[in-house]
Amino acid sequence: MGFDLYDLVNKYPSSQMMAIPLAIFAIALLVIGGNYMITGVPVNLGIDFAGGTAVTVLTDDSTDEIEAYFAAYPLISIGEGLNRGNYIRFGPMDDEQFRSLSRDIGARYPDAKVDQIGESFGQTLQQQALIALLFSFIGMSFVVFIAFRSVIPSVAVVFAGLADILVTAAIMNIIGLPLSLGTTAALLMLIGYSVDSDILLTTRVLKRQGKLEEKLKNAFRTGFIMTTTTLSAVTALLVVSWIGQIEIIMQIATVLLIGLLVDLIITWMFNAGLLKWYVQSGRAKGVLPR
């Protein structure tokens, strides 16, 4: 076996390594910007933020039958899962219409799960989610700067976090996964995961003695295993929640899955490339092991 997966980080010059993630980041910005131009929002909002009603039912009824039954209401979509599960979404309604919908649901699908968010409540949630995201990001940046106390590695870690979130959001736009409370939480969680692997890489490269190639290779090995184990847990979660039609867990798992894959690219191409350049250019002299 001549091929060594973990040596990949040493195969290419840093500029080439960094070019791909930067290109992906640029495309992501275009997708988000394009979405903003077309729909007025950078990412598509789910019912939690835009208002509306979501109904999960376990039924043998076909999509057409469900559609016919709810013809009087602003139906948006019907998603089918395994195990007779159906996820039905409605647009905003007034109190009166919603009461009548509740009765109709209760009459035909007594075992349904219903979630309804009014438009103004959705807006409040939107503002709060935005504040949460901002605070998380600022807090994360602080921790990173305090931990490394040097500009370039810290900026790289913070940028990686930002890129993870934006690229993931862009992919969500493309596959049509809306931003909901669940996906917001998952995006916040990505900040944590992203920093996890970056800190490992940066600490290993800057604070350990030894040859750069060795350090990079070892860090990549550990990081790769780390992320793949988490990926496997998340994949398991996704599969079970898809079978069981647990919408919120499915959303969280999907975003984490995309985000972790994005993180692999950003961390081990962009950050690793940047650190390699940083060390090779001799700028890392000041940052010796503590």
């Binding site: 076996m1 997966l5 376990l58 919603f98 009461r99 509740s102 209760g106 007594p110 075992d111 349904a112 799960k113 219903v114 309804q116 968010i117 009014g118 103004s120 409540f121 409040t124 709060q128 989610a129 949460a132 998380s136 807090g139 994360m140 602080f142 921790v143 931990a147 409370l181 669940g182 917001t184 939480a185 916040l188 969680m189 900040i191 944590g192 995961y193 920093v195 996890d196 800190i199 600490t203 604070k207 070892n218 550990t222 295993i225 793949t228 184990t229 988490t230 496997s232 847990a233 998340v234 994949t235 398991a236 979660l237 599969v239 929640s241 069981g244 647990i246 919120i248 867990i249 798992a253």
Partner: protein, 500 residues
């Protein structure tokens, strides 16, 4: 070359007995074992919960247990103002101009119990010589508490067993929403409970135990807050106003039954849904006034001190007959049937097991060494037990929280891999000294990562973003437990295993 490093061969069985003993006596391991025991105790023993099955004392969210929630938004606003005039006059002016109930909740804040936008209010304030400095949708804390009491009272009266009413407060201090959770109740019933009002009846004693109807709750036009009368006397009561027709009917009844001449023999009684909630004679002063004129403003005194105040609080709710002092609108709601909750519960347990198993397989593929994989999985399980044991005091477990739990499991494995790789550097197990140095370096990486995760989740844990609070709390607790309790213990255990 996926697995170039291999730890020592052989199973746990060959481990020497005194090795085992030494590990078990290490403080890191002792702390973890104690934590597991305490966690199990708080799930199943404090208080005993053998009849509750696997979940023990862990509180489950509505989406696992079945039930409904309704979140209400107040049609009211809190306005902070500046004025040179007397604020009391401003309140009077506002009440008149806006035709709304207006209360001064702080010297410079009024609560307007009718929906207006800031743009609508600005000219009105200006005409009264005041300027608006801050505008927020919602009500004061006090009003929010009254609404909460009314809702709780109403729910209790209807005999719903498991209900929670939570006030949600925004950054500015205004309370904009109130959330009602009713376990085991379907959506249609929940909407009825929250919307329904009781039947309030005021009667007057005629002869002996006999009573006569005077007026119904719909004659009560407004109800004040519990107050002391005269102010500062510590004599509590609730003032309320009745309609002109009500006042007329009241006066006629009082004169006809003779209550105006002999108040003590003709008590005034208030009944809510047929149940007596207040009974007292007319005061001599009121009796005398009723002889000559209709009286619209009444005051029901409830006694002195704390006792009187409590009674006044309850009476206020009764007088309102379950009607809220502020109009509300449904902002959001949801329900899960018991059967679907059961299905989600089952699926969550399966998800947890499948995730643990998958992680186990992946780690095994990487290290090919049961003596590493088994402790990893054991530590992971321990972590979840400790987490649930602590979490039961802080939050309920709903679907989002379960996603958090499984994500924590992923992070946890991540970090155990960091530790293992850090100490296994070059595929050899180093001397204890070097080992501890490496362990602390690995823990260093983990601590920074953990702090970031906690900081990232903190806003969600502090904010009331409905379902995500549990998720954030679980994640934060999980990360903390990992750093403080289980990772150090793992470091010690894995060292003992590897250095055989």
């Amino acid at each position: 070359m996926v697995c170039s490093e291999r730890a020592g061969k052989g199973g746990v069985a060959t481990m020497k007995k005194d090795d085992m003993k030494r590990v078990m006596q290490d403080w890191r391991v002792v702390v973890m074992v104690v934590a597991i025991v305490l966690a199990l105790a708080s799930i199943y023993l404090i208080p005993p919960a053998f009849d509750k099955g696997l979940q023990g004392n862990v509180q489950l969210g509505l989406d696992l247990e079945g039930g409904s929630w309704i979140q209400l938004e107040y049609q009211a606003e809190l306005v902070t103002f500046e004025t040179r005039e007397n604020p009391e006059l401003l309140v009077e002016g506002l009440t008149r101009e806006l035709d709304a109930e207006v209360h001064l909740v702080e010297p410079d804040v009024v609560e307007i119990r009718k929906p207006f936008t800031r743009d609508e209010l600005e000219p009105v304030f200006a005409s009264l010589g005041a300027t608006i400095t801050q505008y927020e949708i919602g009500v004061s804390e006090e009003t929010a508490n009254t609404v909460k009491r009314i809702l709780e009272e109403k729910i209790n009266r209807l005999g719903t067993r498991d209900a929670k009413v939570n006030i949600l407060t925004t950054f500015g201090g205004a309370s904009r929403y109130i959330r009602v959770e009713l376990a085991g109740v379907d959506m249609v019933t929940a909407q009825e409970i929250v919307g329904q009002q009781g039947r309030f009846d005021i009667r007057i004693q005629t002869v002996g135990e006999e009573t006569e109807h005077v007026l119904y709750g719909d004659s009560i036009t407004s109800v004040g807050l519990p107050t002391q009368q005269p102010p500062g006397s510590n004599q509590w009561g609730v003032s309320f106003t009745i309609s002109p027709e009500g006042a007329q009917a009241f006066r006629e009844s009082a004169i006809r039954t003779g209550a105006t001449d002999n108040p003590a023999a003709h008590e005034l009684m208030m009944l809510l849904d047929g149940e007596m909630v207040y009974s007292a004679p007319l005061s001599p002063d009121l009796a005398a006034r009723l002889k000559v004129e209709d009286v619209r403003n009444l005051f029901a005194s409830t006694g002195a001190g704390e006792f009187g105040q409590n009674r006044a609080n309850i009476l206020e709710i009764h007088l309102r007959a379950g009607a809220l002092p502020v109009d509300v609108q449904i902002a959001g709601s949801g329900s899960v049937s018991a059967a679907l909750g059961e299905h989600f519960k089952m699926m969550s347990i399966i998800a947890g097991f499948v995730a643990l198993l998958t992680v186990g397989l992946v780690v095994y593929y990487r290290y090919r060494e049961p003596t590493i994989v088994i402790p990893m999985l054991a530590i992971n399980t321990a972590e979840i037990i400790i987490l649930l044991g602590i979490a039961r005091y802080f939050t309920q477990l709903d679907l989002a929280a379960i996603a958090g739990l499984i994500a924590v499991l992923g992070t946890s494995i991540d970090q155990l891999v960091v530790i293992t790789d850090e100490v296994l550097h070059e595929g050899k197990v180093p001397s204890p000294n070097v080992y501890l140095k490496r362990l602390s370096r690995a823990l260093g990486i983990i601590i920074v990562a953990a702090i970031t995760m906690i900081i990232a989740m903190l806003p969600l844990a502090l904010m009331d973003l409905s379902s995500l609070r549990g998720f954030a709390i679980i994640t934060i607790l999980g990360v903390l437990i990992g750093v403080v309790i289980t990772r150090p213990a793992y470091g010690k255990i894995i060292m003992a295993i590897l250095s055989r």
